[in-house]
Symmetry: C2
Amino acid sequence: MKRTVSDETKTKIGEKVLLKGWLHTLRLLGNINFLILRDRGGLIQIVVEEGNELDKVKDLQPGSILQIEGEVKEAKQTDLGMEIIAPTIKVLEKIKEPPPVEFSKSEIKANFDTILNHRSVTLRNIKQQAIFKVQAAVKEGFRKHMSANDFIEFSSPKILAEASEGGTEVFEFDYFHEKKAFLAQSPQFYKQIMVGVFERVFEIGPVFRAEKSNTSRHMSEYISLDAEMGFIDNWSEIIELIDGTIKAIIGHVWETKEEELKLLGATKPKTKKETPVMKIEEIHEIYFKETGKDTRGEPDLEPEEEKFICEYSAKNFDSDLVFATHYPWSKRPFYTRRSDENPKETYSTDLLFRGVEIVTGGQRENRYNILLEQAEEKKVDIKKIEGYLESFKHGMPAEGGFGMGSERVTQKIIGLSNVKEATLFPRDIDRLTP
Amino acid sequence: MKRTVSDETKTKIGEKVLLKGWLHTLRLLGNINFLILRDRGGLIQIVVEEGNELDKVKDLQPGSILQIEGEVKEAKQTDLGMEIIAPTIKVLEKIKEPPPVEFSKSEIKANFDTILNHRSVTLRNIKQQAIFKVQAAVKEGFRKHMSANDFIEFSSPKILAEASEGGTEVFEFDYFHEKKAFLAQSPQFYKQIMVGVFERVFEIGPVFRAEKSNTSRHMSEYISLDAEMGFIDNWSEIIELIDGTIKAIIGHVWETKEEELKLLGATKPKTKKETPVMKIEEIHEIYFKETGKDTRGEPDLEPEEEKFICEYSAKNFDSDLVFATHYPWSKRPFYTRRSDENPKETYSTDLLFRGVEIVTGGQRENRYNILLEQAEEKKVDIKKIEGYLESFKHGMPAEGGFGMGSERVTQKIIGLSNVKEATLFPRDIDRLTP
C-alpha cells in the first residue's frame, strides 16, 4: 500500500491507509488509548484499543519510528478533523531513551539555551516547526516578488580579499600562500557590480559579522535578502521597492501559512497603501516633543527611539511599518548617495517594523569621480576595491537597493522576542554548536 | 514618458518610446550610423542619422549611460526584430575611458584570467550574461521541483565548531574567546537533522573547500544544491529523486532560456525515461574489456573512467546521464548506508553527466547503534558530532539525499570547459578577487 501523509487523510474517510511517522505522544487511559503520530503533514491521532497493538508501543519513547495501517474516521474534536481506528502497528525503530527535553508538549518548558543545545530534537516541537515554515515562506515571498519584477538571482562570493565594509566586525583567516581572507559582511559591492550587468538583481545568502556582543538582536551569521536596481529616476523608487517587497512578503506568509501563524499567535501587521516616510530629523523632533529626551543632532536613531517611532506610527498612522530617511552622511558608508538639497544628508533609509530596523537601503553614488571623492573622504583604500570601482569607471546608471535579515523579518512577523528564536542553528559570541 | 525596456518594443511598433541603457557599440558609417543600446531586455539598434544627435555620442566609449527617445520600427534583419529611428539622445553618464577588454564583441578575445580580472565589465558581454541567466534558471528549476515534492527550504550554518566531513580541505579561523571555527564543507549533518524535523528538506547555499589545487574542476567556494528525504522504503527512491530533479532542472532551463542556450551553442542533453544505473564494479569490468586498463579493485572511478562511461552510455543507451552505484564502504563517509547484500558495498551513487560526476548521494545509516559503530570504524570523534547524533538517538527514519554544485551543473548543461566559466566570481588557490 502506498504511504498516506496525515493531512491527506481528509480526502480518505472510511478508507484503509498506511501512515508512517514519529511517535509523538501516547496517552494511556486504560480501555481506550491515544497515540499521536507526527509526519510532514502534521499530527494525527490513532485510537488504540486492541491489546496486542498497544503492547507494541506502550514502552516506547517519543521519536520511535512507526508504520500504521488503519481506517480513517472523521473526528471533529481533533486538530486534523480525522483519526485512525483499528490500527495495525509496526515499529520500525524502537526508541527507549526519553528525550532530553519534552518537545511533544505544545510549549517546551526549558530555558532557551537548553532548547538550543538540543536543537536536533527540540525542533520536532510543533510550534518550533511553525516558525521555520514561516521563515521558508518569507524567503519564497521575497523571491517571488523579485522574479515578478524582473530581478535576476545571483550568488556573490563569501570569501573576500578585503572586509566588505571595513570595520572590525569581520572574521579573518588564512587563505592560500599566506594570503589573508575575510568572510563577507554583506554582498553590497557585488550586487552593485551586478547592476552593471543585469540592472536588477537579488541574492539570498549568508553574511557574517564578528559581533562582539551577545544580545537578542545580533548574530555572527544570518541570511540576508538583498536586492539592487538600476535606472531609477529618483530615490523614492527605492522606498517603493522596499515597501512593495515587505508587503509582498507579509502577504505571501499570511496567504500560505495561516495555520502556523495562528498556532504561533501572530497578528497580521497593520499596513497602509503608502507607508509613512519620516526624516530622521523629524523623528528626533517628535521624540523630543513627546518624551523630553533630546536626540536632535544625533546621527542615528537610538533603539529606544526606534521603538518610540514605531508605536507613534501605529497609533497616529495606523501603520506598523515606518520609513526613517535622510540619515546623515557622517553615519553612512562612502557609497551612499548624498542629498542634492543638503550634502550633510543622504538618500538613505531604514524601514522600521514593530520596534526595530528590519531593512537598510537607499540610493548609491553612481558617478565615478564623486564616488572616488567620497571614498577618499571616508579614508577607504581605493586600491583594495578596484574590482568594484571598475563597474563605475565604465558606466553605472543611477541605482540603489536594500538588504534585510530573513531571521529578523521572521521574528517580527511572528512577534518573537529574540532573533535567535527565528534561527535554526544560531551563532553568537558564546555559541558555535550544534 | 515611462521607460520601455528593449524587448518590450515588440508590442509598440510605430509608437514613440523612451529607452535607457548602456552604450554597447557604435558603428559610424557616414550617412547612416548604428548605435546599439544594452538594457536588461537585451540589445536594441538605434539608427542615428541626424548630425546633432550623432555629435552627442560619437566620442563616447561603451558603458556610457544613455536615454533615448525615438520611434519603434520593424527591422527583420536585427536580433530583436525592431529598431529605433529618429532618436533624441540624452547622455546621462559620459564614459571617456576605453574598456580594459572589448566586451561588446560576441566573443571576448582575451585569456580567461584577464576576463576574470576585469569581471565587473567583462560580464557585460552578452554571452557571459547568458551563462548566468542559465544558472539562475538551474536554481529556479531545482527549487520548483523540490517545492512541488513537499520539500521545505532551510538554511544551515556555515560557521562550525568542527570540520563537517573531516579531512584537511577545510578553512579554519579564530572565533571568539580563542575558540577555533571552520567553514562548512557541506550542509550534510544539518540536512539530516532536518529530516528528523520536516522529513523532506532542501537548501541552496555556499560550501567551502580549501582545495589545494587549481584545476578546471575545483574551487574554494561553490553553491551547493542539497536535498534530503525521510521514510524511504528502498534506496532506489533516492536514485529516482536525483533522476527526477536533474531532468526537472534541464527541462526548466530549456523551457525558459531557449534564446540564451542558442546563443551559447548548447545542445539539449539526451535523456531516457529511466536513466541507466550501473554498479561501480560493472563499470570497471566494461572499462577493462574495452580499453584494456585494469581498474578492477579500485574503490573509485578515475576521471578517465568517468569520461569513458559517459561516452559509453551516450552511445549504447542514448543517455547523457548515467548512475554509478554501490561505491565501496572504504571510500565513503561513516554515515553512508552499507549494502544489506554485501557489507563492503554501500547504497551510494554518483550521477555522471557528460564526462564528470555532478551529483553525489545515497541512503544514510539511520539506525543509531550502527551509526555509532560505523563512526568508530572510521575513527570519527563522536564527542564532536553529538548534536548530529542526537537526531538518530531519538528516532530517524530510513533516509537519504544528495548534493550537487550549481556551477558544475550549469557548466555541463551549456558545455563549458571550465567550471569557473560558470562562476561569477570564482575563488581558487590563486584567486581571491575581484
